[in-house]
Amino acid sequence: MGKIRYNKIQTDGFSFRLVKNKVFYCFVIFMSMIAISPVVFIIIKLVIKGIRQINLNFFIDNAPNTLEAMTAIANGEIIPGGIANGITGSIFMVLLASVMAIPLGVLTGIYLSENQDKVYANIIRNISEILQGVPSIVLGILSYLWIVINITRGFSAFAGSVSLSIMMLPLIIKSTEETLKMIPSTIKEAALSLGVPYHKVIFKVLLPTGLGGLLTGILLAISRVLGETAPLMLTALGSSVINFDVTKPTSAVPLLIWEFYNDPNLLDLVWSSSLFLMGFVLILNIIVKKMANKWVYG
């Protein structure tokens, strides 16, 4: 008799659990849809509002001035000109920042992964984590004080890229350290047991093995700083022409967006520039994802 009751209880509880399971499953799906909806809405809005400005001229012309835009709008045409000065400036400054940040960041990452428990390594690791939390405008102010006032004596691409490279550093350090830590120690020992000197083990075995992870970290850092506006306002300032001189003010896509926003006549270009920036960062992220799947060791 006891056995029958036991079976009954078991079955009742089970069907109720199935219902609970279903409800919770639907709830989770619903919440995740809410979480991703901003991204979807942003993309839809940007495409609807920005796509009509995007043509060949958008990529090869400099930003128009208010008068040109006003005339075009009065005639019912799209605003002439593009954001070539911003695109080239962004790429130029990010490249410059990468040249500074990648060697420093990768070497620091190697040091941290090879000396995990040393006091000095712990200090470096903590500082790098703090650096990641420093507001970007503060980095802009610092770069202003160091570079704009003392070195280039004026707003410059160099000052802009210094502030960007400081933003990239902690990301590259972290990803390098994590990537190298993931490589099994037997790979390192195998190389050492062949009589390979320590520095060659690092540069010829560990780095190539972790190359995918390293590149992923670098690309993520790049896509992160591509959209930075605040530090560039105080350092690169912006320019109405294409500039490749490190000592001269330079424009960047996010700076242009800010300028367009402040000029009622150029408002339409805000959408197309934002669409461009978003698309660029999105493509970088997709590349990173593909690479991470294919190359990362493990």
Binding site: I187, A191, L192, S193
Partner: protein
């Protein structure tokens, strides 16, 4: 098929004494001499305690014992692998051909004393070909292409892998099966023509067929090289080794000719281990 019977009369020529009641035998003209070796991972705790032994040239010496007895630790001291980890302290001396190994630059030493690891670990970014000559390549030693080809073919033939991979030399080493990868790792070590090959449980990650292949290979290789084999597997030690060490809690309990150690152990602990009372 390799003859796995141990020819004891041949061995006698090399041994100073074979006393049945002596727990640790002396080896005449050892290629490697370990003297009073102690290794500690933390202060006051020793993983290896006062081990002294000679290693006979062109033989397979098996080191066995239960987990944590210090057999791998002892092995890794021989090519100074412990130097990678600053917390590990090593006391005592090891001599290679009467030369103190701490006086030989570690880079040179490790080319004389190669090592094969527990799990196959070919370099994942390199092809089979590059894996074999990795030692030369990574060291930046410049050798002719024809010489390289020669070394690769010779090393891969020595580990009986040449026929299996000769058409895919430029594929990644990690595409091979576990047993093939392990033979590739042996080939990588052989490419340098080392004097001694250290093997840290080289078959523990392999299936029985791959294990048998590696064992046949080791018996073949001892003609040219001296092999020190750490093994968890007693029957493996009995099958292929000429001499056996039994370690327990960091101490070398017994060291003797495999056949006599297995059939007539001197020490009671050895007997208990061999009969499966612990371990």
């Amino acid at each position: 098929m390799v003859n796995r019977n141990i020819n004891e009369s041949q061995l006698n020529d090399y041994l100073m004494t074979i006393e049945m009641n002596k727990a640790i035998i002396d080896i005449k003209n050892p290629v490697l001499t370990i003297k009073d070796l102690s290794i500690s991972y933390e202060k006051g705790k020793y993983a290896v305690k006062d081990v002294s032994a000679g290693i006979k040239k062109n033989s397979i010496t098996a080191i066995m014992g239960p987990s944590g007895c210090g057999k791998s630790t002892l092995l890794r001291a021989i090519n100074r692998m412990h130097e990678l980890y600053p917390s590990i302290q090593t006391f005592g001396k090891i001599y290679l051909d009467n030369e103190d190994i701490s006086a030989i630059p570690s880079i040179k030493l490790r080319q004389k004393i190669g090592m094969v690891f527990q799990r196959p670990n070919p370099f994942p970014t390199m092809s089979i070909y590059d894996n074999v000559i990795a030692g030369y390549k990574l060291n930046g030693t410049r050798i002719k292409k024809s010489r390289k080809d020669e070394i690769v073919e010779k090393s891969l033939s020595d580990v009986v892998l040449w026929d299996e991979v000769k058409d895919s030399l430029h594929k990644r080493g990690t595409f091979l099966s576990g047993g093939q990868q392990q033979r590739l790792c042996v080939a990588r070590t052989l490419a340098f023509q080392p004097e001694i090959i250290l093997m840290d449980e080289p078959t523990s990650a392999l299936d029985p067929i791959a294990t048998a292949k590696i064992e046949d290979l080791l018996v073949e290789l001892k003609k040219k090289y001296t092999i020190i084999l750490v093994t968890h597997n007693m029957t493996q030690a009995a099958r292929i080794s000429d001499l056996s060490m039994f370690m327990y809690l960091g101490e070398l309990i017994e060291y003797g000719i495999t056949k006599s150690l297995f059939t007539n152990p001197v020490n009671k602990k050895t007997e208990e281990y061999l009969t499966g009372k612990f371990g």
